[in-house]
């Protein structure tokens, strides 16, 4: 248990030591999105009746930050450790692969939530979305960041150079988050794109998270919870199997 805690602590300590890059920079980026999109669309778009566009946008941006940073945390930490070679210190230690998984994923959850909280608090200056069901908010934030943290572990293990990881981030994570309803309701999309969005797990994470704020969503939050929970279970099983096999970690 102490092995797990130490690895988790090391990961969070690393985040603190480079907080400008890991915490402040993503918060600033999200605020820039908020500033520009709300300025351009505030007068033109009303997604839910009586809800300002800026207020609608905030939960989406917060969740996007949570997801992207959860992914970035485990994936970048692992690839840095692999490329510099210091992953050996973890591999030499009597750390079970389950502990390894839990430490990296939990650290990703912590960073995701820290950035998400930072974005939310700063965004309150622009608009104050209601908080209808805080438990749904916490539940989707934790499950979503755990799912992306797990995906980050897989990407970090698979990638052999920064270029490959950047490809994973730019061609998979970014499109899936941008096309998930962060900036719009999928009901505003043509039918084809609406249908396609239903195959994007990120859509369920954003929609369920937003339900916690407004009590309204494109789809039932219970269904979203089932999809996100199911994806997390499958991803956890896959990642644990990968770690158990020693794939790309133990030649």
């Amino acid at each position: 248990m102490l092995s797990f805690y130490t690895l988790f602590y090391k990961e969070t300590l690393r985040v603190q030591k480079v907080a400008f890059q890991t915490l402040l920079a993503p918060i600033l980026t999200s605020l820039l999105y908020l500033l520009i999109f709300s300025h351009v669309l505030e007068q033109h778009v009303e997604v839910y009746p009586g809800v300002r566009y800026t207020a609608f946008l905030i939960p989406g941006l917060v969740m996007m930050s949570v997801l992207q940073n959860a992914f970035a945390n485990s994936s970048s930490s692992l690839i840095q450790s692999k490329i510099t070679g210091n992953i050996v210190f973890v591999l030499l230690a009597p750390i079970a692969y389950g502990e390894f998984f839990a430490a990296y994923v939990l650290a990703s959850v912590v960073r995701g939530l820290a950035v998400g909280m930072g974005v939310y608090l700063a965004a309150l200056w622009f608009a104050q979305p209601p908080l209808q069901f805080p438990l749904w908010i916490i539940l989707f934030a934790v499950l979503g960041s755990a799912l992306l943290g797990s995906l980050g572990v897989v990407a970090g293990i698979w990638a052999e150079k920064f270029d490959q990881l950047a490809g994973f981030q730019n061609f998979i994570i970014m499109p899936l988050t941008f096309l998930s309803g962060v900036f719009y309701s999928i009901h505003s999309l043509p039918v084809f794109w609406q249908e396609l969005s239903r195959y994007n797990p990120f859509f369920y994470m954003i929609d369920g998270f937003r339900y916690g704020f407004f009590g309204a969503s494109d789809i039932s939050p219970w269904f979203s919870l089932a999809v996100v929970g199911g994806c997390l279970l499958v991803m956890t099983g896959f990642t644990l199997a990968l770690l158990r096999s020693g794939y790309k970690l133990r030649g």
Partner: protein, 299 residues
């Protein structure tokens, strides 16, 4: 009593390369054991399998009776490995690095031992320095300290003195020898054969993934019969002595003698030919001679 390390018919392939080809090796508890071989012989592969950094394709390895695959947590707890590569985590200070490594091994309050290890390796002054700011030699010391934070009964040193200064070598060997005297088993790979000769009680030589020699250092040295004599002569070496010539550089000659008594014959031949000896040195066989002979023989 379980052996410290027990390798049985260990095989490892990397693509078409048969990196380890049926290695059998048994290292007893308390030994100071040397693993020698040219580059690519399989030394680091064997250590990686022992440490769980790679998985064997065949055979078994155990550390103090614990299989390194099936009981990997137990076997890793008993091992302290100093890796060959000079790796470090740039985010942390020396003390943070050692505390984290202790935690990985399940040790919560380990500062007393960390302080002692740092003292023995002359790291105390650098305890709060970030790893990035250390010289190569200092980083190497931290690697050694990291391997020792959990007081492992079996210490594995993979080329620990490659590219480090004399002072560090002496400091490190003093500490490792002390640990060996206290009962820790030491497995060493090195390119410095004089180090292996001075430190190791037993030695295995690997070539192309196979153990080609395994004996006590004393027996290996005595397996080279005879001695060598280095001579500086006023004239050319008489033809009768040419069969014994190993090396010539100007008027300096190195001759191999079947025994110490053969020196009398050599001097008589030189006298007969009217050649005067200006300088003479008798050389005992060393591990390098054994190494070259074993590696040459098994080509």
């Amino acid at each position: 009593m379980f052996p410290a390390v027990d390798a049985r018919q260990v095989h490892k392939h990397y693509g078409s390369l048969h990196a380890l080809d049926g290695v059998d090796l048994r290292i007893e508890q308390g030994e100071f054991f040397g693993l020698l071989g040219p580059n690519g012989a399989g030394k680091t592969t064997l250590i990686n399998l022992l440490a769980g950094l790679a998985l064997p394709d065949g055979g078994h390895i155990s550390v103090l009776g614990h299989d390194v695959v099936k009981q990997y947590r137990d076997s890793r707890r008993l091992l302290g490995v100093v890796p060959q590569e000079l790796v470090f985590d740039p985010f942390f200070t020396v003390r943070e690095t050692l505390r984290l490594q202790s935690g990985y091994f399940g040790l919560r309050r380990n500062d007393a031992w960390i302080d002692e290890v740092m003292h023995h390796l002359d790291l105390t002054d650098k305890a709060d320095t970030n790893m990035r700011r250390l010289s190569g030699g200092m980083k190497r010391r931290v690697l050694v300290a990291q391997a020792l934070v959990h007081k492992p009964p079996v210490i594995v040193l993979d080329e620990p003195t490659a590219g480090v200064d004399v002072e560090l070598r002496q400091t490190m060997w003093r500490f490792i020898q002390q640990l060996n005297r206290d009962g820790h088993t030491v497995l060493l790979t090195t390119h410095y054969l004089e180090e292996a000769e001075a430190l190791c009680g037993r030695i295995a030589m690997l070539k192309r993934g196979q153990v080609v020699a395994l004996d006590s250092t004393k027996n290996l040295l005595s397996s080279i019969a005879g001695c060598r004599v280095r001579l500086k002569l006023t004239d050319a070496l008489p033809v009768t002595l040419l069969p014994q010539l190993v090396e010539q550089s100007g008027e300096n000659y190195l001759l191999a003698l079947p025994s110490f008594h053969a020196l009398e014959t050599v001097l008589a031949e030189l006298r007969l030919a009217g050649v005067t000896v200006q300088e003479m040195a008798l050389l005992q066989p060393d591990l390098e001679d054994v190494f070259l002979r074993v590696m040459g023989r098994s080509c």
